[in-house]
């Protein structure tokens, strides 16, 4: 099965650990970065189908990740996850090409729903949400 390549960036280790397993159960190949600078380097080397990123991180913000990702590949779907959600931030992210934004805290199933929708848009039609994922 063709699997979507996902890059997950969050400076809190627990977020990456929890979400990685959840998205892998969906059938995605997931790389996790806590350091957004290293993630930025990886984005420039490798094309990802979906990027899930936090916004407030040291040195590099999620907005910079979004801009870099869209500059490398306009087709990459970028999902913003943030504990500091505001209308202004939501609008900025959408203007810069984000696929969606969700406020923390959220359930892993909420993110899976977004990833599934993004993956289907990209043609990964074989992915399916499972009850125990």
């Amino acid at each position: 099965m063709n699997r979507p390549e996902i890059l997950l960036i969050d400076d809190e280790p627990i977020v990456g650990q929890r979400l990685k397993g959840s998205l892998e159960k969906l059938g995605c190949a997931v790389q996790v970065f806590q350091d957004p600078s290293k993630a930025l380097d990886r984005i420039r080397e490798t094309r990802f189908d979906i990027i899930v990123t936090d916004v407030m991180m040291p040195d590099v913000s999620g907005i910079q990740i979004l801009e870099a990702a869209k500059a490398v590949s306009a087709d990459t779907r970028v999902i913003i996850i943030t504990g500091f959600a505001t209308s202004a931030l939501a609008r900025e992210c959408m203007d810069k090409g984000a696929f969606d934004m969700i406020a923390k805290p959220f359930k892993p199933s909420d993110l899976r729903t977004l990833v599934l929708r993004a993956a289907k848009e990209l043609g990964f039609t074989e992915l399916q949400e499972t009850a125990n994922a």
């Binding site: 959600a85 209308s87 202004a88 939501a90 609008r91 900025e92 959408m94 203007d95 090409g97 984000a98 969606d100 934004m101 969700i102 406020a103 805290p105 909420d110 977004l114």
Partner: protein, 262 residues
Amino acid sequence: MSIVAIISQHSRESAAIAGVAASRLGYRLVLMEELVKTAAQRFQTSEAELFQALKEPPLIQRMARKPKLKQIAWLDQTLCELMAGNQMVFCGYLGYPIFHEISHVLKVLVLAHPDAHPTTPPVSPGANGRGGIRKIKWFQRIYNARLDDPNLYDLTLNLHHMSTEEAADVVISTLGQQRFRPMTYSLNCMCNLDLACQIRTALVDQVPDVEVKAHDGTIYLYSRTFKRSKRQKALEIKESVMHMEGVNYVEVCGEKGLFDSF
């Protein structure tokens, strides 16, 4: 589920723009009259009383009397219910704080010269004269903001410089921007506002000045009556809200500063 909110003291001109925009977009058109009619049916009350609540500004800033607060709570809740699941063009001067919280709502201010459309007779005498001034006063005293402050809106249309058709074109083209596309966050904000409005409607009889915020089932309540001296009342209110559908936890605040921080 895109939403356009056209807010103006000039009801005739803004309703005309809303009508053209809604028709071209294929969205539902909701004018104040429909909102009032729906709320009257929903809450088994008279349309005349609801119109009266929208007509007369409170005498003192943010100090409307209990019946008016209840009627405004009904109208706010009805507005939230109409928004849910609908692509909508709303035209009126109610609900500004609700629209402000939802990032995908395109908020439009319509300014019209008093002689903008001399060929169109006013719906009622004073509809755009004294009525307009009264709406500005109503907005100021209910929301503590100026209805015609362009800073509150995404788009300001001056009908002195454009026709109704051109104004509708500008609205439609602006709505095409990515920032007005609904997203999970803004749709969740709508659900939270809907729940907050339901709770306010349920409490307004007992606590007329209650302010409510909701976030994924956690409810924050503020009223001046929740100070320490009335702890028992606060606990009773908390208990009653805990049993409402969609509520997981209730936090009662007696301090406005604390409530605003949530």
